[in-house]
Symmetry: D2
């Protein structure tokens, strides 16, 4: 595997499996002289950790971060930051029953095909646990962005067919499903509880809005802002699609409808989602990601074992019945990593 | 701009503007000893070039490719291939009227914000003409993939609200709109003609299917196969979204519905679109991209000039009323570049 | 700082300062299925650690490595390896006296100029301690190379003006100065002791020989084997030059003298040092690096303080009077990282 | 081959063989708004081209550059620059006699081992002709550096055992051997003529001095300024070693001698060669490279043919009897590429 590094000048390298000793990340290319302490990072990790509410997995991990390098006297030194999170709840026993089975919808099979290794403890590197490292790195990126007035907010925009109809930024952290529509929250929670009760899971949509990005960020023609955000989003386990601005809706529009006219006061609309030609327009950046229903369900499913023989698999671990609430901070983190890297690349252009 | 290079071990570097002297590409990391001549590349370029049918722009460019290096005695040598395409139809005069205007929906504004430069000839580097270089590079990648039994086919899956309902691979190149559904073709063509007649444009969806990819391709956790395909697709001008397999539909499914069960005979379904955990499953890879309606329309639109003053813009150039038919070979090319790079990276894993 | 990552497909990311909590490294792109345990790594670290002999610094660090990820059931999984080494002997007090001074010959000044930060504890990131991470990563690389029959041996080829005249590979680890010439060892040791006694230091030369590399490794034109080895060697603190084969001696030769003639039995000589045109010839790879005398000496030296005022600096820490003996395993490690990365890149060429 | 790209944010991609249609380069990451025309580039190419004086090869190439993209209205646009140089003198006939032989000291053998291809025309990609692309790219880099007050001057510091003893910058371009010591020039020229008369060749040393670089440039720990310069220099065909400041001489010095003391007026000496800890000190950057004698000599040499059979090789082409005079602009170009890339990376640090 050589894909565990993201970024060209602001670079993150992650490591760790769900049932190994630890997960963590090195962040290189950090602006020196920025105030940073472990609480900045812990706050974001607490939003991602399991067991935080009734709609998430009841697995217990404190996800306590330790900042091992790159900070002196409370400030970044410009040298690499290493952030370490020890794994605590390593009940590998939970996995005994499926030790030799490929779980449907799961990366068990593809990892085995790629690496020739069957690490049956949790999901090894393919586990959602790996995203803790992303969130830790993203917390640093968010700190750098905040100093530039850039704010990233993601929220659950749909659970199953139930969509958020309102956008109330302040409500997001006030409901366990992390939706921006307080009226939709109870229904979403109910949908998730019902799926859990049926030993099933449910998909959803997470939307991300980024304000304060100046016009000019993004590196055409391959490293466009939307291209990098798409890569970053699709690199998160469970994400199956992304759309910017009008997105798939744009496919049904005419140019007259879709084009965002300009006036001396600014753009009249934002169908583009804040990015044109792969470069930020200065408008709010808006995109949505499709999140598949959690693969791990307790219902009996047909599968094969590692020897290719027919089998039935009933997954007994503790899993999120809907990935969206905990994916919200992960998507924010990945977006922050993309933005800091491209903002620094833009600085290099004239440097 | 430092974003004109794609790929880690199979690397393409493109250059060129719509109204400069030429566009082209260097391909590095080419397998040595492969038979290659200019006709292999020209065939793909002919599928992309303007003026090829009634539903595309009537601008004339022969897009004749010259292979300048990397081939000796009809075979690749392993050294960089340089492919050069001179620009012929440089009617910059067409652009006089909009010289100082920012065209709505166009990258004029964002490029000016980023580079502080106003290159009003065509769209400079933001022009779709840049994709000729991608198609040339993609033709080389396709040649390498074909030798491994991998086949990439894209087609127009929707124009506006009209969707292809059938998939007949052989039909794609038999209709000018490049849809796989011959019954839908006449309606799609009519929609495009109508948009053109109204000095308007129309969006659509392009789907891509890739067969023959063995299980195991893709580099978690950041350089996943779907993440790289998403980046590649979103780097194409006009693409506003992408979804894999069930895609946004997965958001409305349960785990029971979405999980692809396995039997000794293989997967029972392919909601995953051939990729799980960022690694190919061995099933067909399927994804769709949302294509916005062409920004350049002849209708009068409100805009501002380079001094921020109110203006009206009427674009008189010759533009595609729908981007989909010509985007088909571009999406195939980008997909081929992604696959070759990741297949070679996978070879490095055990190398 | 964005320079803490080395390698394209076999990638190492290091972190850590001399007086922070830990140093360490993530290694990505590791071949899966290779037997690896902490003892493989510890053995190499023990060769580098301080306090191992009379000619090295008496600072005490056990340099105990912990392997945090990437290994399951005693074998590599193909996922990133994280190796962590806690710092133990953090006597920052030693540095109080020079807290505000720039030590001559030291990176204090340049780091302060670059990062605007003065981390006076030890040398922060510029400390030789950082090389422990390289040695840990190199131990993994050596393991991969050993399986291919590739062996890397470095040794002290000169201390001051005293040169090794013989090459006895088995002798290297038998004398504390790590020279391959047992007859020269006592004199070298005496030179180092004398320098130490005079509160001074002494330079030297370290030579590296690599056997078993097949012909064909190296990626022209920029990522040539010798170019990458030169980068890797010069990235080690204290190295001021490198030469391959006849090296600077080649400058005084004629083509007739320097050219290595070939016969059916192989090359008749190896003035090239095993690399021609940036690609391995299959002969032994041989290069030498110039090592400057340790900057940190206890003698009084003229300098300036952080405010630019005249000052006298007397360094009271515990330092190696000659860098060569401990640089030997570091140079081997860096060479191993280069080779594994280029061997894997070569595999990608035909992949 | 995947090594034809150099640079992280200021990136050059080169292509072309000695006897193909053309050589050239794409430069990406160029600062927008800089005045640039073909004459800026041609001037540097004229310093490198063959046939310019009595001590260089008499092969004729005008090396006329064409700037194909990235410039509008006389200024860089920030988009990729493509520079193309057609090959004119393609007398492949000269090579008929050695078609099946591996020339001693030449990359014939290693390229054949690596790529499985025998491109016998000239030296294919391994030819010195490839450096024309580097010089073209370097000319752009020099233009960017000149605007920052940075000046790069290389010169022949030794031919065989004859060394330049003086440094007169203005004299370098006034003698065909490009030495900075006008008194040594006649002797050097005589040595080269004598080697040519004997159908032999002679090695030498080229020194490079760079003034005006501010303190703080270079990215520890792997991408140090000296590490990148070493890689860049060793990537040039014929270079077998490099040393910075006191270089190999430092190996024979004590710390007391080598340390550059500081006073309020600045450094008292520059044994470090302007780089400490991999970061520029603000002093002049000084390094020297060892240049091997040209491999191509007309004398009969023992070799093998492509089937491994004994053979005698007499090379009848037209070759430089000493590489140094024409290597001077190439070393400057590579140094310029390194500096611009690292200066831009440094800008990204705080960006």
């Amino acid at each position: 595997m050589s894909g565990s590094i993201y970024g060209k000048v602001f670079t993150v390298s992650t490591f760790g499996e769900s049932h190994g000793r630890a997960v963590g990340v090195i962040v290189d290319g950090v602006t020196p002289g920025i105030e940073l302490d472990e609480r900045d990072i812990q706050g974001e990790l607490d939003r991602r950790r399991p067991g935080q509410s009734a709609v998430t997995t009841q697995r217990k991990e404190s996800d306590t971060v330790q900042l091992m390098s790159g900070v002196f006297a409370g400030k970044t030194t410009g040298t690499p930051l290493m952030m370490l999170i020890f794994n605590e709840d390593q009940r590998s026993a939970d996995y005994g029953a499926i030790k030799d089975l490929f779980r449907p919808g799961h990366a068990d099979y593809t990892y085995a095909m790629k690496y020739g290794i069957r690490d049956y403890r949790g999901s090894g590197r393919a586990s959602g646990r790996e995203t803790a490292a992303r969130v830790a790195a993203g917390a640093v990126a968010k700190k750098l962005l905040a100093a530039k007035g850039i704010k990233i907010l993601a929220f659950t925009a749909a659970v199953g067919k139930l969509r958020a109809e309102k956008y109330c930024a302040d409500e997001i952290e006030r409901n366990p499903v992390r939706t921006a529509d307080p009226d939709a929250a109870p229904g979403m929670i109910e949908l998730i509880r019902q799926a859990a009760a049926e030993q099933n899971s449910v998909g959803g949509v997470v939307e991300c809005r980024i304000s304060g990005v100046p016009a000019g960020i993004g590196e055409p023609v391959f490293d466009k802002l939307d291209a990098e955000l798409a890569k970053a989003a699709l690199s998160i386990g469970g994400v199956k699609g992304i759309e910017f601005g009008a997105g798939f809706g744009a496919a049904e529009m005419t140019g007259r409808q879709h084009n965002d006219e300009m006036t001396p006061a600014g753009f009249k609309s934002n169908h583009a989602g804040g990015i044109i030609g792969g470069i930020s327009t200065g408008e709010e950046i808006i995109f949505r990601v499709a999140v598949k229903p959690t693969s791990s369900i307790a219902q009996a499913q047909r599968t094969v074992d590692v020897n290719g023989r027919e089998a039935v698999c009933e997954i007994r671990g503790r899993h999120d019945p809907c990935l969206c609430p905990r994916l919200v901070p992960v998507l924010e983190a990945m977006s922050a990593l993309v933005l800091v890297d491209l903002i620094k690349q833009h600085a290099a252009l004239r440097g």
